[in-house]
């Protein structure tokens, strides 16, 4: 009797302990590769986390593998994440002191929060010693890498302005021309809807997709200084008359059924918004330059057959903004974790110097992107996407203002409130006035 009781209790505590123990073990291994744990075997290892969307993922991986081949004693171990998952994961990892050696990101407000916490290396003096690394890149790419006059990140990869894509076949079908102004856009909406075609595709659940519309409307109506005032933390900057006008125009487009049915449950991570454009369900889409690559890859002959049209966002009648202005990502960024070991930091710096080699430039151009290297346009002529690449290069080099995406420029706290309110604005559950009130409350936070 006695022993049976005991064994039952043992069993109970065991059965409680086992799943917990398993959970514990899972916790330990889910942090992909432990930084600093490089002593295990072979040379020192630096860690590197990056995004998993193709075709960009393949190019990042190839650049890393080339580096690893050339440096058998100091290697880099990479781990990939989906876009939205990465944003959360990297913050948590940095806060927990478990950051990878190389922190990939978008610069701006996110980088600023890492800098304020002392989590990333100051690279100013390294760039001073390696002027050649700095001088071959677009100067505009360093803005979002600079915090209080010091450089904390290595600009890398490509310049990604946001452009207005359209499906040429659908425009032929209704016999219309691409919009030259906001008025044209509003006129096109009923024409497409009458044919059962959605005027615009939108992955609204991702929220930053909606934000791109506001970025352009603010700029075209009131000029780049409207958002600059928000960024500088001026009191009540969101109450600018141009802001109210832009928000009102935005809701007017939504009310006119300008966007695909169900846009608020479509995510950009699944590329469903792009699929709507190339399958002919939607006529236009405002999206980042990076989608050109994925549409060529997934869209069959849509891009290669010349059905994809693109243009800079048209001006708004009576607006003050410069029509050459653009927004988007002036580059991507890599920082070095302050918590990494000296060896890991050395590997990372060596890796930075090896970035955007001729092979990598060729790969980016091949994927339809413009690398942030001066004179990269000389590599375009041989590309099948030459026309597109010249278009992007032209936008990037001619833009009077190349503004950074708002959610990347602002602090994470303000960005979350912004995205939340944008989702509600697009849901028509708040008015432009409520939007400005809510946003004014987090200025400078």
């Amino acid at each position: 009797m006695e022993s049976r009781t005991t064994s039952r209790r043992t069993f109970l505590s065991l059965s409680m302990g086992l799943p917990l123990g398993a959970a514990l073990a899972a916790c330990g291994s889910s942090g992909p590769t432990k930084p600093g744990g490089g002593g295990g075997g072979g040379g020192a290892k630096a860690t590197y986390w990056y995004l998993s969307t193709q075709p960009q993922e393949g190019i990042r991986t190839a650049a890393m593998e080339r580096f690893n081949k050339a440096n058998p004693n100091g290697q880099i171990a990479g781990t990939t994440f989906q876009n939205d998952a990465f944003k959360t994961k990297i913050k948590t990892a940095i806060g927990a002191g478990q950051a990878p050696t190389i922190i990939w990101g978008w610069g701006g407000g996110g980088l600023r929060s890492y800098v304020q916490a002392g989590q990333v290396e100051d690279l100013t003096s390294w760039f001073g010693q390696n002027a050649a690394v700095k001088d071959r890149l677009f100067p505009s790419s360093f803005g979002a890498a600079t915090v209080d006059g010091k450089i904390y990140a290595m600009p890398c990869e490509t310049v990604q302005p946001i452009v207005l894509y359209y499906n040429k076949k659908l425009f032929e079908q209704i016999g219309a021309q691409p919009p030259q102004s906001w008025g044209d856009i509003m006129d096109l909406v009923p024409k497409f809807n009458a044919k059962g075609i959605a005027p615009f595709s939108l992955g609204g659940q991702s929220r930053w997709t909606n934000m791109m519309w506001l970025e352009f409307l603010f700029d075209r109506i009131g000029g780049s200084e409207v958002f600059q005032a928000v960024f500088d933390g001026q009191k009540d900057a969101w109450s600018h008359p141009a802001a109210i006008d832009a928000l009102t125009k935005m809701q007017a487009l939504i009310k006119a059924n300008g966007f695909i049915k169900g846009f608020s449950s479509i995510t950009a991570d699944s590329n469903a918004d792009q699929a709507l454009l190339y399958t002919g369900k939607a006529a236009m889409m405002l999206h980042g330059g990076w989608t050109y690559g994925s549409m060529s890859k997934d869209g069959g002959d849509f891009v290669s057959g010349g059905s994809l049209g693109y243009m800079n966002f048209p001006p708004v009648d009576g607006g003050k903004g410069d029509p050459s202005d653009t927004v988007g990502n002036p580059g991507q960024y890599m920082s070095i974790s302050a918590k990494a070991t000296p060896e890991q930091k050395e590997i990372a710096k060596k890796f930075f110097a090896s970035l955007l080699s001729d092979e990598e430039i060729k790969a980016w151009v091949g994927a339809g992107s413009v690398p942030i290297v001066k004179g990269a346009d000389s590599a375009f002529t041989s590309s099948k996407d030459a026309e597109w690449l010249k278009f992007v290069y032209g936008i990037a080099s001619n833009a009077k203002t190349f503004a950074q995406s708002w959610d990347q420029a602002l602090s994470p706290t303000a960005a979350e409130v912004l995205l939340d309110n944008i989702a509600k604005l697009f849901q028509l559950s708040i008015s432009p006035q409520q939007f400005t009130t809510n946003m004014n409350a987090v200025i400078g936070k």
Binding site: K261, S265, E416
Partner: protein
């Protein structure tokens, strides 16, 4: 089970003390886990709720600012409302369906055993997988409705506040009804046959037997299942996060999601910790309330003498 009566082989007091001690030791593993994963984090969260921390930099003590920010935010009553709405609706859907299914499956027929295995399948799937599947099926442009060209099915299921809430309740119920049916099936099988035989002698029909015997006898099963539904839906996160991400707007933003968004997307660990504590309080209050409702008196059983 432990022999307490004095017998010829009664162990000495010292040996007995040692035995009790060794029994106490057996609770140590469970206790360590409970303290390590339950109590210590809870204390940590309590401490964090009085600080300002962005999850990356230094932690600063800031008194009640986080609590003030959370309690004055109109998002809190909204999140509470959504949480309780989902809780109440999923109880209303799950409980009757589970009781009926449980009673049905308690029968000894072979085909019912086969069906009960089939019903069990949703329970084997992970919430994230279920959410991704439903999201794909309900997509208004590429989903089931659009594919089969059925207008009724091609609604904007996850894009309208009311519909999205309904879908969440439906998917939650779809996932958990099998589990609760299982609990009720066990409960029904415990009811003594003699009660039904007596009722039949008195001329009671099927419906009368169900309402006069089965339902009252399932009282404690119902309380168990209700506690699991209510407290479980408080912490509901993964399915909603993948399915709607709290949207459209904030129509399905339950308290647990609000906590996550504040903590890990807006980098406001203080307010997020305050919401975590509110969740703990609401959960404790609920299960306490249900225990009271249940009476908790073992001598209330109607099975005695049966």
């Amino acid at each position: 089970m432990i022999p307490t009566s004095a017998g010829p082989g009664q162990p000495s007091a010292r040996a007995r003390g040692g035995r009790n001690l060794s029994l106490a030791w057996l609770t140590v593993p469970a206790l360590v886990f409970f303290v390590g994963f339950g109590v210590i984090p809870l204390v940590g969260v309590l401490a964090l709720s009085f600080t300002t921390w962005d999850g990356i930099g230094d932690i600063h003590f800031s008194g009640f600012t986080s609590w003030h920010a959370v309690l004055t935010d109109p998002g809190l009553p909204h999140a509470l409302w959504v949480t309780f709405l989902i809780m109440a609706l999923s109880w209303l859907v799950q409980t009757p369906a589970s009781i009926l299914l449980g009673v049905f499956l308690a029968g000894a027929q072979r085909y019912r055993a086969v069906l009960s295995v089939l019903y069990f399948i949703p329970l084997l799937l992970s919430s994230a997988a279920i959410a991704i599947t439903y999201k794909a099926l309900l997509d208004p442009n590429f989903g089931l409705g659009a594919g089969l060209k059925i207008a009724l099915l091609s609604q904007d299921w996850l894009g309208r506040p009311g519909l999205a809430l309904g879908v969440v309740v439906f998917v939650v119920s779809w996932q958990f009804i099998p589990f609760h049916s299982l609990i009720y099936q066990g409960g029904v099988r415990q009811i003594p046959k003699s009660m039904y035989e007596a009722a039949e002698l008195d001329g009671a029909g099927r419906v009368r037997k169900f309402f006069s015997i089965t339902l009252p006898q399932l009282k404690y099963t119902m309380i168990t299942s209700t506690t699991l539904v209510l407290v479980g839906s408080l912490t509901f996160f993964d399915l909603i996060f993948v399915l709607t991400a709290g949207g459209p707007g904030d129509a399905t933003r339950v308290l647990a999601l609000d906590m996550y968004k504040r903590g890990f997307q807006a980098n406001l660990m203080g307010p997020a910790s305050a919401i975590a504590l509110i969740l703990v309080f609401v959960g404790l209050a609920l299960s306490l309330l249900l225990r009271r409702l249940g009476g908790g008196k073992a001598d209330h059983s109607q099975m005695e003498g049966a």
